[in-house]
Symmetry: C2
Subunit: 304 residues, 2 copies
């Protein structure tokens, strides 16, 4: 018998990965907020570069108290909603449940682990361009890879999730080290998420400017050095490679820029404050990254 | 016989200081661009917290080729126009003329001195809230002090200028060291000019935010340390004092914010690039100031 899945936070990320699993025949229970009525009525539409599909009917819920206990819970919420996460999860956990936090930044597993001391926890790093265009309609524009990393629990369970993803046509991998995977993704996220907000721009306009290419490179170097100080041996070539890759990408607005444009609270804590603090604890100051954090805190305070 | 003055760049700064000298009976010749016709017809109106006055008629010119040679030339242009300055000045210089650059930033005297190797040059640091509201109408809102510092020439000549200012009711002083005076003013200008642009805000909204108070303080510390490395012994207490003073000020939009709002090129070179380079030459990296410079270069490139 297969694993029973739940998706908490069915936005672009949760909807895409949960949708792929459901389409492949897995049992998936989805939590919706504002999209609930629409999805109940018309299903969940995934418009994907890999082929469009409609899930209908959907196991859709408006509250986790109505949902069955599940083996694997994929969390697609923004980290800014994580203060509610433990209480959202409790009704659907059994003693062997595995919670997979498909979220950006650092420190999210630690916080949940303290609140749910007996629950298995993993992280998922999604490399995907996807967005929700309207209620119940998700667009998958590019990429799709997900790197899974265990925080607490047994690896076989996570590997089974990875196998389910692969069978569903998702490019999924289990990383040796969750910390490594998280820091690796931060190398890209740190300069581009925040600078697209502060300079109100997207990646291609930023990188056509020499000063910003230089600044992005410097911030990436700070992240690499911080990761190394924290024990994750990221490659010193990474900044150079990621800048070149980004310059070849289509013009892209990172998730924080979409949050900013939609006046949602920015994920400053997970993407900036937690890494800055972790580096500092390891004896290293990311000065330019800390300055971007300070500017983003100002912008966040003015949003709310 | 008194000194014969010229004002090149009759905006808020040139108009105010030149206007005060003219009102006190000094001979002052003003160069205007777009305001020329208006001033010829209706004079130059100064609305000042120290008392309003109208200069009419005004020795107004549309080109320096029509102006007489003058003893003292007050330059109120933005530093972004300095590539034209030497050729603007040549028609009105005599062998003992003194050019006073009432401009922000660093390095402006050096550049002019190289272009006009036989001309006496001084700098002026204006501590004033003033703006031009409409053609020929200047508002002086607060403060007014000017610190003069000699770059090349004889000090008696500069002291005579200072005396003329004082007689005209301007709080003028001759600084012992122009470099000290310029770095001192940079301590305030560096954080607030740029951050008001990048974060699209004014001083009071910036400083009510804890992160930005901290960041402003850090940038001020970088400027103080850079000045010290360059041989100007600024007080380590200055950042603390200036932040407190600014928090007590009325909400204020620095000149760079006004330039930004009016889509004028920002004075990034004089206020940021020149100090960053000077510090680097002295063996010190202003990291956060350099990051602000990088962000402002991006904004400048998008303006033009």
């Amino acid at each position: 018998m297969g694993l029973k899945y739940a998706v908490i936070g069915t936005g672009a990320i949760g909807g895409f990965y949960g949708g792929k699993l459901a389409k492949a025949g897995n049992e998936v229970h989805f939590l919706f907020r504002s999209d609930f009525e629409q999805v109940k009525k018309n299903g969940l539409q995934i418009n994907s570069v890999d082929g469009d599909f409609l899930l209908n009917p959907v196991h859709a819920y408006h509250s986790t108290t109505d949902m069955p206990a599940c083996d694997v819970i994929l969390v697609g919420l923004k980290t800014t909603a994580n203060h509610q996460l433990a209480s959202l999860l409790r009704p659907i956990l059994h003693e062997n449940s595995l919670v997979v936090l498909i979220q950006n930044g650092l420190g999210v597993e630690e916080k949940l682990a303290a609140e749910l001391p007996h629950t298995n926890i993993a992280g998922g790093l999604a490399f995907i361009c996807a967005q929700k265009n309207s209620p119940g309609v998700i667009s998958h524009l590019d990429l799709g890879r997900i790197n899974l990393g265990l925080y607490r629990g047994n690896k076989e369970q996570l590997e089974q999730v990875c196998t389910d993803f692969c069978k569903a046509g998702v490019d999924a991998h289990v990383a040796e080290s969750l910390g490594y995977a998280r820091w690796h993704k931060l190398v890209w996220n740190v300069p581009f998420n925040g600078m697209c907000v502060v300079l109100n721009s997207n990646t291609d306009r930023l990188l056509e400017n020499e000063s910003i290419r230089e600044l992005s490179h410097e911030m990436m170097q700070e992240v690499v050095e911080a990761a190394q100080k924290c024990g994750y041996n990221l490659d010193n070539d990474l900044p150079h490679k990621m800048i070149n890759m980004t310059m070849k990408m289509e013009p892209y607005a990172p998730s924080m820029k979409l949050d900013f444009d939609n006046k949602r609270t920015l994920e400053v804590e997970a993407i900036y404050s937690a890494p800055v603090k972790a580096a500092q604890k390891a004896g290293y100051k990311m000065k330019k990254v800390a300055m971007l954090e300070q500017q983003l805190k100002f912008i966040n305070a003015r949003l709310s």
